[in-house]
Symmetry: C2
Subunit: 158 residues, 2 copies
DNA sequence: TTCGCCTTGTATGTACACGAACATTCGTAC
DNA sequence: GTACGAATGTTCGTGTACATACAAGGCGAA
């Protein structure tokens, strides 16, 4: 978290910005900027959320489960933009913490139905204010109209 | 890469968007949008770059080395926004491919000086057009002014 | 009904990403 | 000149992220 702060400098040691041979500057590429911004958003999440050990992906999955009732694992992955191979681990860790439950789907024997446990539902509800603070802090450097603009632009390229 | 495309739907199986209990929608949070956008940028990178096996981080490090001459490992990490623990693996893989070279810093025995090898320099130069195409494709859905706006906003929150 | 194709969940392997702990070395204050 | 704090690079552990391959079940067409 604090490590991100340390990574922004380019001072000292050698003269800055001399002898740029090619015309390709990594720090100007959209991919790099998206990565940096996502990096900071994750750091803010960890600093701000009232639950150490809860990760962004785990909270996303849990919140979605609380809202969207029992769903299959793959479907939950689609709704939260997670690969089937990725959501597998997220689900396993949430279950190990007793926040969600798994049971076989009676109407389709391939599927496992997921739902939030009692404790999971309570935790999700309790974390909402904290989660909203995360978003607010991440967008802190921007004005209200800039925030709306950024969100709209991100939706366009996603 | 194609998997990202499959992850955008929320149709079928149950009625969409009924019984939203809490007021927290994950897909509207800035962190989630940043993650999705970064996800797509990475997918475009892999589809577009003329070198399977080259990753965004590896290219960033290599490009920086070509431009910024010999640098220590930690410093290169700071300039490309990579954790010391992270850049370690990136450097190792680049060296295994013979694209960069490591030698001890004579003036500071803690440090390892990194520089691009001959082959690394040639590859970096050859990949520039391809890398620019990556950025262009990622920004494809946006107009020229939108692109500038997005880049400026991302720099503000990073 | 059976064949072919799709979906679902799992496992494996690679590559970030970062906290934490560590040994070595440097620089400086004393 | 020596003790102390800071910087450098490494290792370990955990958590995404995804390609690939796979077993099992569902489903429609022949």
């Amino acid at each position: 978290m604090a490590s991100v702060d340390r990574m922004s400098d380019a001072r000292g040691e050698t003269a800055p910005d001399e002898g740029r041979a090619s015309e390709y500057d990594v720090t100007e590429q959209i991919g790099h900027l998206l990565r940096r911004a996502h990096q900071r958003a994750t750091a803010v999440f960890q600093e701000t959320l009232d639950d150490p050990g809860m990760t962004p992906m785990q909270l996303a999955a849990l919140m979605r489960l609380v809202d969207a009732g029992p769903v299959s694992q793959n479907r939950l992955g689609r709704e939260t933009a997670m690969d089937p191979a990725t959501i597998q681990g997220v689900i396993r860790r949430l279950e190990e913490r007793g926040l969600i439950e798994r049971r076989p789907d009676p109407s389709d024997r391939r599927r496992t139905l997921l739902s939030a446990s009692e404790a999971g539902g309570r935790l999700a509800q309790a974390l909402i204010p904290s989660a909203e603070k995360v978003s607010a802090r991440t967008l802190d450097p921007l004005s209200e109209s800039e925030r709306r603009a950024l969100i709209a632009l991100l939706k366009k390229i996603a």
